[in-house]
Symmetry: C2
Subunit: 274 residues, 2 copies
């Protein structure tokens, strides 16, 4: 807890410990257990202090173990911002001015890996769980990117996990945006061209029923690839890549204007440098 | 509430109302206020019933007005899954088998609109709020895509909102993945080439200080475009587009294998059809 001491040295006000953020607001990260009524009083006093200080957004992060503090926080006017399995983030916008609280995450990122060997064979799997289970469909390895994982890294990891194959990321061939796949959230699936560095398949037991190198024509002949828009285009893009120099997007490291953080810009390097 | 009536007609068990999901689980959407202890008892009975039925994931959606039900839900072993301002979604995985609860959203999608007129002028703005406020930087219009909004639609909307200019989406020129921009979440910014359909600028008062059509060379000469990776590449890609037929990704409507849902696949149509 922080203490505010008035200039005459008499007034002592206990406040919740907070740190300032870069946008004129404060962040409270609760870590130790606290009685919910004691917390409620502290929160009320703290808010009036932050108001006087002209603070804007107030963030309160509550680990799930401190679930008893959620109700008093909401009673003071906070809204939910986002949640992860083990914490809940709440936010309260103090001023009358435009609310500039950043929007919550709306998308998850998936990768679909197109791994082709020199014999025009595509690395494909049959899945044990999920909607393809029991369908007999041979599909490319896919998976969800982890938090803060780059797309190219996720593609290498997923292929290795599902099939044991080592690969090198080449480029992004296409991507699909599909809405409302889990509650109101959107799925962005990036099709990644990968160059295989090993060839002996070892399937992951939990999720993968079988894996193999399959001639591209055989993959494309599956009913699944006739009717399914995405699978159909996967085979068409593979053919375009093999026969007509289809160009995708390559990642280029760039730095931020505001700090040294490196990020990746995916673009048509071929046309940029031509 | 649901009631379970045993075959002899004697046993009446009150359960929470739920609907089955497509993955062997159930979804409870609480709407009416309930005493937290009464809810806790009902939840306990319901879970044991769902266990007997072999249910997998149990989802409980609690509107913020029912914040008193969060604590009993967590006490029964639920974890947070995600939250939006006015509700919290919790989830509990019943079986011993692999947890196939979908990952939470990790990304937000932003668009950056590259609008060029026939005089090689770029539509640029100065922002009133955010980190560019007061920097004097002229930048392209940018904004966050709404929930379930397609990238191309978000680009048209943002340009209209910020500058009053009507545009037609042409293609995606590049995109950047930047981690940890808000808490542990990632920003995916799609650079969209737009064709202007109107030319008289009307700036949005709340967020935009000024807007203008600026010669591309003048935009590129800003110190901001020398040091900032993304802004530097925006001007380079514009030049490549004007002078060397830089090709981006175009959206193509496709349908799902499992239902009729339409989504968009962004790909190099030029190379696919060549």
């Amino acid at each position: 807890m922080d203490q505010v001491v008035a200039e005459n040295g008499v007034q002592h006000v206990e406040l919740l410990s907070s740190v300032n953020d870069d946008h004129g607001g404060v962040i409270v990260e609760m870590k130790e257990p606290m009685d919910s009524e004691a917390f409620h009083s502290l929160l009320r006093v703290s808010i009036s202090q932050w108001k006087q200080q002209g603070k804007k957004g107030v963030w309160i992060k509550l680990p799930i173990a401190l679930v008893n503090l959620v109700e008093p926080t909401v009673k003071e006017g906070f809204l939910y911002h986002h949640a992860e399995p083990h914490y809940l983030m709440l936010v309260y916008w103090i001023p009358e001015t435009v609310n500039t609280i950043p929007a919550n995450a709306t998308h998850r990122v998936r990768v679909g890996a197109i791994v082709m060997n020199d014999k025009r064979e595509l690395l494909v799997v049959q899945e044990k769980i999920g909607r393809y289970q029991g369908t007999g469909v041979w599909k490319i390895p896919t998976g969800v990117a982890d938090e803060s994982e780059d797309i190219f890294a996720a593609a290498v990891r997923e292929v290795k996990e599902e099939t044991g194959i080592d690969t090198e990321f080449v480029e992004i061939l296409a991507f699909r945006q599909l809405h409302k796949v889990f509650f109101d959230k959107t799925d962005l699936c990036f099709l990644c061209m990968m160059h295989p560095l090993s060839f002996d398949i070892q399937t992951q037991e939990l999720e993968i029923e079988a894996a193999q190198w399959m001639p591209l024509e055989e993959y494309a002949a599956q009913p699944f690839c006739q009717s399914h828009g995405l699978a159909k285009y996967i085979s068409e893009i593979c053919l375009a890549k093999l026969e007509r120099d289809y160009v995708g997007f390559l990642p280029l490291p760039i730095t931020s204007y505001f700090n040294d953080q490196v990020s990746y810009l995916y673009l048509n390097s071929h046309d940029l440098n031509n």
